[in-house]
């Protein structure tokens, strides 16, 4: 009774989304949270916040998603959010070379705030479905991720929903909570039946097949 009344233990993980204006940070979060995509671009003002709870066996974790504004005038706010984040997702647009070049600056900011070891660094190439307009190849992205010592590199398309769940699945696997209990447990059916549970068990191959390119 006592244990029930005190609820379940909860670990919070702060994930901060970084990148130039218009690369698709908000779309990435919206796709992950609500599985939707809005064609109409609306710039983020300041810093947006969304959270999702994930259950695993007896453990409950909450992902706190901090969506930063890409506009120059909000840049000064961002370091304060990187300061105590566990995961930094640096997003670039595969159809915009400049946004790719700015990755270095973002990663530098992350490293200066969190050091090399205290943060899970992810590099995400978004708008992967626009193959005709591509300016940054996957190999270039991979190479950059390797140079910057990023733990995760992935190309996504928030428009067609390609690799988005996969990205969060990979991130989850790197979190200490999930590493302890082994990623296999993510496929546990019990989690699917609980309310507010995020199913991050999407079959990678299946999701790959939805790629338009």
């Amino acid at each position: 009774m006592s244990a029930n009344r005190a609820g379940k233990s909860l670990t919070k993980y702060k994930i901060v989304f970084l990148g130039e204006q218009g690369v698709g940070k908000t779309s990435l979060i919206t796709r992950f949270m609500y599985d939707t995509f809005d064609d109409h671009y609306q710039a983020t003002i300041g810093i947006d916040f969304l959270s999702k709870t994930m259950y695993l066996d007896d453990k409950t974790i909450r992902l706190q998603l901090w969506d930063t504004a890409g506009q120059e005038r909000f840049r000064s706010l961002i370091p304060s959010y990187i300061r105590d984040s566990h995961v930094a997702i640096v997003v670039y647009d595969v159809t915009n070379k400049k946004s790719f070049e700015y990755i270095d600056k973002w990663v530098e900011d992350v490293k200066s705030e969190r050091g090399e070891e205290n943060v899970v660094l992810c590099i995400v190439g978004n708008k992967n479905d626009l193959s005709d307009e591509r300016q940054v190849s996957t190999e270039e992205g991979e190479r950059k991720a390797q140079i910057l010592n990023a733990k995760i590199f992935i190309e996504t398309s928030t428009k067609v929903g390609f690799n988005v769940k996969n990205l969060f699945r990979k991130i989850a696997k790197t979190l200490p909570e999930f590493q302890k209990s082994d990623s296999v447990a993510l496929d546990d059916n019990a989690t699917k039946n609980k309310p507010d549970v995020i199913d991050i068990t999407t079959n990678e191959e299946q999701e790959q097949s939805s790629c338009q390119c």
């Binding site: 006592s2 029930n4 009344r5 005190a6 609820g7 379940k8 233990s9 909860l10 670990t11 919070k12 702060k14 003002i45 300041g46 810093i47 916040f49 959270s51 709870t53 259950y55 409950t60 909450r62 706190q64 120059e72 005038r73 909000f74 000064s76 706010l77 370091p79 304060s80 959010y81 300061r83 105590d84 705030e113 969190r114 205290n118 609980k194 309310p195 507010d196």
Partner: protein, 812 residues
């Protein structure tokens, strides 16, 4: 029971044919002499049971009848008759009276066929007519009997073939069947008797009391007549008692219903006092709420005593129950808090039973406002403490957390404030999450809750999570404010103050977005700090001017002062940031006309004036110093105007702000105009034309001369002695010839050398030269008109034509 005498169907064994059996025997010999009555008596039809009617598939009774008739008729046909015994002999095959075989009988009967045909036909038709009426019922009964016999064939163990045999075996079989049937019948009779026996016994037992009752009834009837009046009295008493009984029953029913509706039973009372707070407890609470509602109706009765008593009782019970709920909720909260401290943060899924019980408890407790408020205070106190601890932990330099403490960034005010506000932001979203999970009743199924609670408190409960969030941050607000204020108060840099202003504006917006009310303490404090930082922007800017000691450290240079350059650089930096910030469209614009008046207009009208007065104290007396003053002034204002030019379409685009820019521009124009006048005057002096210029301008402004007719206005000047040719020659000729060739270079090199803006220098130069040119032209033309006969003399005094003069001063 009827038994068939199968002996009558017995035939000789040798003549017996199964297909013919059992054919009814004709018992009487039909003779021609016999009457139709006798024929009727002796004639019998073919046996229905043995007929092939069923086998041939006769469907209806009519079909069967038709087939039977045709069978009978066919048996009467001559062909058949050849095989039939004659009417005179024993017709019946089955008869045993004579004991003769059938073949013999047929042989004997052949002679009588012809005679009997007609008679038989007649009789047969009559019999057939009567058959339906008389024998149909017997046949049906017989058929049923056979059917029953056939159905019970297994039970009675008989062989139908053996049974119909005419010999001894058949007879024996039939006898045996008969005895079997009889014994079966007896058995069944015995069984029935056994069944009836207890009933009989009971009847016998009751017969005596019944008889007694009967006798008593008879006796009473006899007495009744005698005691009729007495009975009437008794009966009325009985009826009244019956009425009373009925009423009492109804009263009892009503009282039971009232008891069930208006009181708690023992189990419910016990649940209310002793059971743990849970579903059962809330069921009882729900009933108590209903009782309270009912009690309000009772209060409306003419005698409200019952309502008052019920209300008092219910209220007392609800009060006790509310205290129990309060204790439960407080326990729950403390348990959660201590678990959070010990094991880290806690969470509930939306369908957690303890959470639902907690929320139900809150719902019921909301009816008792004082206790509910007390609980809310506890929640606020507990959560505020948690939030405060979390907030302060970030300033702890020895904190074990992975992130670096905020205090480390204290050297950078904007970063420090950003860190503090970002941390408060994350505390707000965390707390909003917690409050939503615990105190959000919108998603909760409150269909079962009493309507009164929902009607009265629904709106309040739905907004509870937001109010709690706001109240939780009330006590924390002071600590947050102190940490922000200690930086803002001591920051003088207007640019940093503007960044702080922006930061505070942005976080104010974001905090409101995540649930803090615009009128909450924290938001109000942020607004106050924002106002402080905005006012400090202007203060910071003016401080630059104050610190510059503009009236001291004066240099004699005519270029803009260093302090002005620095000030403008700061101001422009601020304006550039302001432009980018997007605050231009804000309703409460930071850079309004007051700000611009203070920062710019006052600079031009007050600060620069003071500065120039200090720098050129003799300007009023000394024309040269005045020229220097004007040059310096033009340079300074021009610098201000030039630096403000990029913001002409943004900051100075409209309204009062536009007027400030125009004010600066007009100041510059005035200074230029003044300088032009002073310079022109100097030029005239150097050319020796100053007296004449004054004289001419006194009559009519030379600048306004349009054409030759206007020259006539100056003809009266002839009366003035200075207009004598010789005087003019003495005053003008030499100076003109000496200075005119160097006039242009003198202006450029000496007078306007210190003007920074080439455009302004050019403007002044060209306007001065134009004035000289214009006046020279007017003066020469007027002299030519004044002395029409002495043109040569005039030409020798003013020895340059207008064109030559213009060429020399560089106007052409």
């Amino acid at each position: 029971m009827d038994f068939l005498d199968y002996q009558t169907f017995a035939l000789d064994e040798s003549n017996a044919k199964d297909c013919d059996l059992p054919e009814p025997a004709i018992r009487l010999s039909i003779k021609p002499q016999q009457s139709s009555k006798d024929l009727d008596k002796d004639f019998s039809f073919a046996r229905l049971a043995s007929s092939k009617l069923d086998a041939e598939g006769a469907e209806s009774l009519q079909d069967k009848m038709q087939k039977y008739a045709s069978l009978s008729l066919s048996s009467l046909s001559p062909k058949n008759f050849s095989n039939q015994p004659s009417p005179e002999s024993h017709i019946s095959q089955g008869t045993t009276s004579g004991g003769k075989p059938l073949e013999q009988f047929i042989q004997n009967g052949e002679e009588a066929i012809d005679n009997t045909d007609a008679l038989l036909s007649k009789r047969l038709s009559r019999i057939l007519d009567g058959h339906h009426r008389n024998t149909l019922q017997i046949d049906a009964q017989l058929r049923r009997s056979f059917k029953i016999l056939e159905d019970n064939q297994d039970r009675l163990h008989f062989n139908s073939k053996t049974l119909v045999r005419p010999d001894f075996v058949g007879s024996l079989a039939r006898n045996s069947l008969r005895s079997n049937l009889e014994s079966e019948l007896l058995k069944s009779h015995l069984l029935i008797l056994d069944d009836i026996q207890p009933i009989v016994r009971r009847i016998k037992r009751l017969s005596e009391p019944v008889q007694n009752i009967h006798q008593m009834g008879d006796a009473l009837l006899k007495q009744g007549e005698q005691a009729h009046d007495q009975t009437q009295t008794y009966m009325s008493k009985v009826y009244s008692l019956q009425d009373t009984l009925h009423k009492n029953r109804l009263q009892k029913q009503i009282l039971i219903m009232l008891r069930d509706k208006l009181t708690l039973n023992q189990v419910e009372e016990d649940t209310l006092i002793n059971s743990i707070v849970g579903l059962d407890f809330f069921e009882v609470m729900k009933k108590l709420m209903r009782l309270k509602e009912t009690a309000t109706y009772l209060l409306a009765l003419p005698n409200p005593k019952a309502g008052i008593v019920l209300m008092e009782q219910t209220n007392s019970k609800i009060e006790k129950a509310n205290k129990r709920i309060f204790n439960y909720l407080v326990d729950f909260l403390h348990e959660l808090q201590s678990a959070s401290k010990t094991f880290g943060e806690r969470t509930f899924s939306s369908d957690d039973k303890p959470l639902i019980t907690f929320q139900q408890g809150m719902l019921y407790l909301s009816n008792d406002l004082p206790i509910f408020n007390e609980f809310i205070k506890r929640v606020v106190k507990t959560r505020s403490q948690t939030v405060l601890d979390n907030f302060l932990s970030q300033f702890d330099i020895n904190s074990a957390k992975a992130s670096k403490p905020i205090i480390i960034s204290a050297h950078d005010p904007v970063r420090y404030l950003g860190d503090v506000l970002a941390h408060v932001h994350s505390l707000i979203v965390d707390e909003a999450d917690f409050m939503d999970s615990m105190f959000k009743f919108q998603n909760w199924n409150i269909q079962d809750a009493p309507t009164s609670i929902l009607q009265e408190n629904g709106e309040f409960l739905n907004g509870l999570s937001i109010s709690l969030l706001n109240e939780t941050f009330g006590p924390v607000e002071n600590s947050i404010r102190i940490r922000l204020e200690q930086i803002i108060r001591f920051e003088d840099n207007p640019i940093i103050n503007f960044e702080i202003y922006e930061l505070l504006s942005l976080y104010q917006m974001m905090f409101i977005k995540y649930g803090l009310r615009p009128d909450s303490n924290l938001i109000s404090q942020l607004a106050n700090l924002r106002n402080t930082s905005s006012s400090k922007i202007l203060t910071g800017l003016t401080k630059i001017l104050d610190d510059a000691n503009i009236t001291q450290n004066l240099e004699k240079e005519l270029l803009p002062a260093e302090w002005l350059v620095k000030y403008l650089a700061k101001l422009c930096e601020f304006f550039s940031k302001f432009e980018k910030s997007g605050h231009l469209e804000d309703s409460e614009n930071l850079v309004d006309s007051n700000f611009l008046n203070e920062a710019l207009a006052c600079l031009v009208t007050k600060r620069l004036s003071e500065y120039h007065k200090s720098k050129f104290p003799q300007a009023r007396k000394d024309r040269k110093e005045k020229m220097h003053l004007l040059l310096s002034e033009i340079n300074c204002i021009d610098l201000i105007k030039t630096r403000m030019l990029p913001y002409r379409e943004t900051i100075f685009s409209e309204g009062d702000r536009q007027l400030v820019y125009e004010k600066i521009d007009s100041h510059l124009k005035t200074s230029i105009k003044t300088l032009i006048n002073v310079e022109t005057k100097t030029l005239f002096e150097k050319l020796g034309l100053d007296l004449y210029s004054n004289l001419f301008n006194m009559i009519f402004p030379v600048e306004s001369v349009q054409d030759e007719i206007d020259y006539d206005m100056y003809l009266p000047v002839l009366e003035n002695p200075i207009m004598q040719r010789e005087v003019i020659r003495a005053n003008v000729h030499e100076k003109l010839n000496d200075y005119l060739p160097i006039l242009s270079s003198d202006i450029q090199d000496n007078m306007l050398f210190h003007i920074v803006s080439p455009k302004i220098a050019d403007q002044i130069s060209s306007e001065c030269l134009s004035s000289v040119s214009k006046f020279y032209t007017v003066f020469r033309q007027v002299l030519l008109r004044l002395y029409p006969q002495d043109h040569e003399d005039i030409d020798s005094i003013l020895n340059f034509s207008e064109d030559e003069l213009n060429t020399l001063i560089g106007l052409n």
